[in-house]
């Protein structure tokens, strides 16, 4: 895979799953999940 592809894939996964993780962590912290 080209380095550009790897970088974009990582960015994509980081934004989506990173965003989801932050939201889930926040909900878990409140013990409201």
């Amino acid at each position: 895979m080209s380095s550009g592809s790897i970088v974009m894939m990582i960015i994509g996964l980081a934004v989506t799953w990173g965003g989801a993780a932050v939201c889930i962590a926040n909900a878990l912290k409140k013990r409201s999940l």
Partner: protein, 493 residues
């Protein structure tokens, strides 16, 4: 009126909302859209659209649904009495979609069974159109019922009925607590298999290789906004309905962002899986990827079976793939059906059990037309029209009415008062300016396109019957439903 049903847990709501958002399009549309619109560079307009349209709209719908505590018609009535018809328009869009969407899920169920012995044979394309669908000459040539599809559709309507009949907590929530984890597990297994195939890296490279010149093309931005809009199940009554079942203290903003991020994250993983498999196929057949990559029904029921035929343990992967389509489709089917049933329950004060039973019976009968040999053509037409003139137009009206003719900031402040993350006035700007401009452009472009040229070259009479009449008919019916006596309190706030 009976006390409104509620979700049992917050995770139940999130799984249901995610289940609604994640559908067939996450698997068979997003990967192609990204590949065809700049590869990895597509993520730039895609995330921009997510932040300026997707998340704002989903928070708007979660906010009004929660604040006004009703299905879409009831919520819009509570906002402003004369706007009830908009809620009905959206609920009727959902109804039309449910009637043909169930048939596509039925195809997937059939294919999951066929996968066990690669029943599509060495020529999946010929098999799908000639033997499985037994395609007729066109939409006006119905032919007979395709019985394997009929049988699977009965099963899918039965599952939908059982889930809806059982209520929000013991039906919808429970179903999604089963389907969603299973769907993610299936995706994970397929993903691991896909990325370890020979040629997979080349396929994934094709998906993510960035062509930054695409960012200068306005059509790529339109594609990104369109993809975000359609993927999040917004503007057709679902998210308003689902959030109306939340308890009083609910973190609206976090819920909205969580749903959006998980949905888009799933699309990305599905894209990696699909292009890993396609890369393997291209390597095995010694062809360029662009010769085999496609989207939609063709991708799922022709290209993927072709790819599956070339895999080690093909029956296992094929079964998992089509089973994942069934789960993704069913969770969406449940949500669009609930959006309709909830509207009827709220409007007329009827009990859930007879409403859901009648809904599934009527829905099943209407979906028969899509189970005929001409069904794929009719589905194609109805799907095109309901998406482009139902969802897009209803979404445009919703955003304009709520942004410009309503105190939008009351929703933002309401959501912020319940949430840990506060959203700023950028949200107002997104809804007042960015989203209407984009949706307006899409609406006008679609209208001009379809007036200028018959969609896919179909005969005009077929387009009128299965397209234009449907979209105009549901608008008219919306006003009829608004005029009928309501069981809900005339003023809840």
């Amino acid at each position: 009126m009976a006390k409104r049903e509620q979700w049992g847990t917050r995770s139940g709501f999130i799984l249901a909302a995610v289940g609604s958002a994640i559908g067939l399009g996450n698997i068979w549309r997003f990967p192609y859209m990204a590949y065809d619109n700049g590869g990895g560079a597509f993520l730039i307009p895609y995330f921009f659209a997510l932040l300026t349209a997707g998340i704002p709209i989903i928070i708007l719908e979660f906010g009004v649904g929660h604040k006004y505590r009703g299905s879409a018609p009831m919520t819009f009535f509570n906002i402003f009495g004369k706007w009830e018809w908009l809620g009905w328009w959206q609920a009727l869009v959902s109804f039309v979609i449910s009637v043909y969407y169930v048939v596509v899920i039925s195809w997937a169920l059939n294919y999951a069974i066929l996968a066990l012995d690669l029943g599509w044979g060495a020529s999946p394309e010929k098999f799908f159109f000639n033997e499985f669908l037994q395609l007729s000459n066109g939409p006006m040539d119905l032919g007979g019922i395709v019985w394997p599809v009929f049988a699977a559709a009965i099963a899918m309507w039965a599952v939908t009925w059982i889930v809806l009949f059982s209520g929000v907590k013991k039906g919808i929530e429970l179903a999604n607590k089963i389907f969603m984890p299973l769907l993610f597990l299936l995706l994970l297994i397929m993903l691991v298999r896909a990325v370890t195939l020979d040629g997979a890296a080349q396929g994934i490279d094709w998906l993510f290789r960035p062509d930054f010149s695409a960012i200068a093309d306005y059509q790529v931005w339109t594609a990104a906004y369109g993809q975000i809009f359609f993927t999040l199940s917004v503007c057709f009554a679902i998210m308003i309905t689902y959030s109306s079942y939340l308890p009083a203290k609910s973190d609206i903003n976090n819920n909205g962002m969580m749903t959006a991020f998980i949905n888009c994250g799933f699309s990305l993983l599905a894209g990696i899986m699909v292009f890993g498999v396609l890369g393997h196929m291209a390597a095995k057949q010694d062809v360029a990827l662009h010769e085999i990559v496609t989207q939609g029904v063709g991708m799922a029921f022709v290209t993927i079976p072709e790819a599956v035929n070339l895999l080690p343990a093909p029956e296992f992967f094929g079964f998992l793939f089509f089973l994942s389509l069934v789960f993704a489709g069913l969770s969406s089917m449940i949500s669009i059906s609930e959006a309709c049933c909830s509207s009827l329950i709220d409007k007329f004060g009827w009990d859930r059990k007879p409403v859901t039973s009648l809904f599934c019976l009527v829905g099943f009968m209407l979906s028969l037309i899509f189970m005929t040999r001409g069904g794929l053509f009719i589905l194609d037409i109805t799907d095109h029209f309901i998406n482009n003139f139902g969802i897009v137009f209803a979404g445009l009206v919703e955003v304009i009415l709520l942004s410009w003719f309503f105190k939008l900031d009351t929703v933002r402040q309401y959501a912020n008062s319940l949430s840990d993350f506060a959203i700023g006035t950028w949200w107002n700007f997104c809804l007042k300016v960015i989203t209407p401009v984009v949706l307006g452009y899409m609406a006008v472009a679609n209208l001009v396109g379809d007036i200028r040229e018959n969609y896919e070259g179909y005969d005009g009479s077929a387009l009128v019957m299965f397209g234009w009449c449907v979209v105009v008919g549901i608008v008219l019916l919306s006003f009829v439903l608004q005029s009928m006596k309501s069981a809900w309190p005339q003023k809840t706030r």
